[in-house]
Amino acid sequence: MNAHRILVCDDEPHIVHVVAMKLRNGGFDVLTAADGEEAFGLACESVPDLVVTDYQMPVLSGLEFCAKLRAESKTCEIPIIMLTARGFSLSEDDLEGTNIRKVLPKPFSPREVLASVRELLGVVSLEAGSVT
């Protein structure tokens, strides 16, 4: 079966790199973007199965990007995991109009990201012994 495709976007190259590497090592196909605009373009183009995005990004912010995805029929069902360095968790109003399913704080644990992706996609790891 096809590996699930994940879109990862963050303006910090190191963050993108580490998340992408973790997910790839976890058996996923990963696309990356450095800002919300670029991410939206890629999302419409290749319609990933899940999106991992940062909250604060230039050009188009994380929330705006998610709202756009929700508004677009092609992408409105894609589940989204949001990473944020903001101390507070996002409010109900913020999440309204988006398909954000999980919010993870920064500094984040790559393990936790992988586990959340697997959980949302209902994937059980085929690697020895590890179950989400």
Binding site: D11, H14, I15, L60, K106, P107
Partner: protein, 566 residues
């Protein structure tokens, strides 16, 4: 018959004066009073004035006599005086004449005898003598009366002097006969009493008006102090009525002092909370009565202090009620500063989390064995190291700014070559510039140009400028660093120019303010809004230089630092 004894020619002024107008008499008296004291010890007694009359005082008024003087003249005192100049003396020769006449009638001598002529002469002479005495006494009496009136008039007009019997100048010695003496003494002691009373009253009046002006002065001072405080102040009595307010309070709650005085406070202020607090202070025990709170009026924040006011004029009731004094302080600025500070802190925390996230993420990857080979592991180590450096730099930045502003930064000034420091900063930024395809060029002066500066701070400032230039210039742009010495002013100019997004004209003045970021450029790059503020503080506060900025939207910006040359 002798006339009232004169002391020689000095008496003539009085004689002349009796036909003068009274006012002039007084002036002369005043003049004489001022005469030197050497005249004082003359003999004050004068021989008695013969001539006495039992008649009542002359009914005819003398010239310019006031009613009081007239009554005095006609009263018992005058009689006592006039005894000295009485016409009674004329009775003696008159009686003698009558006796002689009687003798002549009883024992008439022979007609045609010389004794008849003797009798006639004698009786006639006696009658004439009586007549002369009468005339003289009347005249003397008149004069004495005038003198008395003069004395009385003069005495009654004295406001500050005394009728002093010891003043033995020529004038007084003529006036002060034994007959006059009791009258004068009476007048003198009366005048002295009146004078004493007047003095006491004047003194009391002075005291009172002094106290009044002191009290007024104190009141004005207190009012001035209350007005000068500038914070709204209100004072209420034990019955919740407004008894004092200053202009600031009147402005804040929009009432006029005259209308509001003694009105119940709930007619003036509508803030329920403030009224409740005032009520609490009023009811509470004196020791525990202070209250503090915060209120918002018209967009400004006020910190209130309410305290009990014990009014000494018996306004404190037996049930322990006292007044309330309310002071409101505008703390809007402090609030804003506190808000800014907490925003700063959360922004700082956010900024710090980013490099920390890298460190945590890559460390976890290493722990989980996600780095398959040495090359990857090396890459991870380097990323962790870079992130840790960045974290450190951020923290330094924050601390430096807050220390510079607080004035507590440790500055280590030494002669440094501007060119060398600038080159270091350029080299540091080169990788970042190259990653974005930006060309970074430098035009530096000879090493010899030095400034007295703190190396780290100057380095940081220049680094910030170059970093900004690279951040806000799109791909394939240009950043150039140029140094220009100005020997005539003994300054050196370091300029960082870019072909970046530029800054809108209205934002240029705000660029060096803390946390300020150009709205339009916020999405282009991350930033705390502190970098330029640090540059400004370092250059201006620590090194007495200046910062410059020119910019055009869409074309680019040029930031400059001017430092004094050594």
């Amino acid at each position: 018959m002798t006339q009232p004894q004169d002391s020689g020619t000095s008496m003539s002024p009085i004689r002349e004066q009796t036909s003068k107008p009274w006012s002039q008499v007084e002036d002369d008296l005043a003049e004489v009073r001022a005469a030197p004291a050497s005249d004082r010890q003359k003999d004050a007694t004068t021989p008695e004035d013969p001539g006495q009359s039992a008649f009542a005082g002359p009914a005819k008024g003398l010239d310019n006599e006031t009613p009081s003087v007239q009554s005095l003249r006609q009263g018992p005192e005058a009689h006592a005086v006039l005894r000295g100049v009485s016409t009674h003396w004329a009775l003696a020769p008159m009686a003698a004449a009558l006796l002689w006449l009687a003798y002549a009638m009883l024992f008439p001598p022979a007609p045609g005898a010389a004794a008849w002529s003797l009798h006639l002469l004698g009786i006639g002479g006696l009658i004439v003598a009586a007549g002369i005495i009468l005339i003289l006494a009347t005249g003397a009496r008149q004069r004495a009366l005038r003198r008395l009136v003069t004395v009385i008039q003069a005495g009654s007009k004295q406001t500050s002097g005394r009728l002093n019997l010891d003043e033995t100048n020529e004038l007084w010695s003529g006036l002060v006969t034994p007959e006059f003496r009791p009258v004068l003494q009476g007048i003198e002691s009366h005048a002295a009493n009146v004078e004493k009373q007047v003095r006491t009253l004047l003194f009391t009046q002075q005291q009172l008006s002094l106290e009044l002006s002191m009290a007024r002065g104190q009141e004005e001072r207190a009012a001035a102090v209350i007005e000068a405080i500038g914070d709204p102040i209100l004072a209420l009595d034990a019955f919740d009525r407004l008894i004092l307010s200053n202009a600031a309070a009147q402005e804040l709650f929009d009432f006029s002092a005259s209308e509001a005085l003694r009105q119940p406070i709930d007619r003036i202020i509508s803030d329920e909370r403030l009224l409740r607090l005032a009520a609490q202070v009023r009811e509470a025990d004196l020791r525990a009565a202070q209250r503090h709170a915060e209120h918002e009026y018209g967009g400004k924040i006020y910190a209130s202090t309410l305290a009990p006011l014990v009014l000494k004029s018996g306004q404190e009731n037996d049930d322990g009620r006292h007044g309330v004094v309310i002071l409101l302080r505008d703390v809007t600025k402090q609030h804003e500063a506190a808000k800014k500070k907490s925003e700063f802190v959360s922004q700082v925390a956010h900024e710090l989390r980013t490099p920390l996230s890298s460190i945590c993420g890559y460390v976890e990857m290493l722990v989980d064995g996600e780095a398959a080979d040495d090359a990857t592991r090396q890459e991870f180590y380097e990323i962790i190291q870079t992130s840790a450096d960045r974290l450190g730099r951020l923290i330094d930045n924050m601390l430096n700014i807050s220390r510079i502003e607080a004035g507590t930064v440790r500055i280590n000034k030494e002669p440094i070559s501007v060119a060398i420091v600038t080159k270091e900063a350029v080299d540091m930024m080169r990788p970042q510039a190259e990653a974005r395809g930006i060309s970074l060029t430098q035009h530096l002066t000879p090493v010899a140009y030095r400034v007295l500066a703190d190396r780290d701070l100057i380095y940081q400032a220049i680094l910030n400028l170059i970093g900004n230039a690279v951040k806000y210039t799109p791909q394939d742009g240009k950043v150039s660093v140029r140094m220009t010495p100005h020997e005539e002013n003994k300054t050196i100019l370091i300029e960082v120019s870019d072909t970046g997004v530029g800054i809108p004209k209205e934002d240029i003045p705000k660029m060096f303010k803390k946390f300020f970021r150009v709205e339009a450029n916020k999405k282009m790059a991350k930033g705390t809004g502190l970098g330029l503020n640090l540059v400004k503080n370092v250059v201006e506060k620590v090194h007495t230089g200046t910062v410059t900025l020119t910019s055009e939207v869409g074309k680019g910006s040029t930031f400059g630092i001017v430092l004094p040359l050594m």
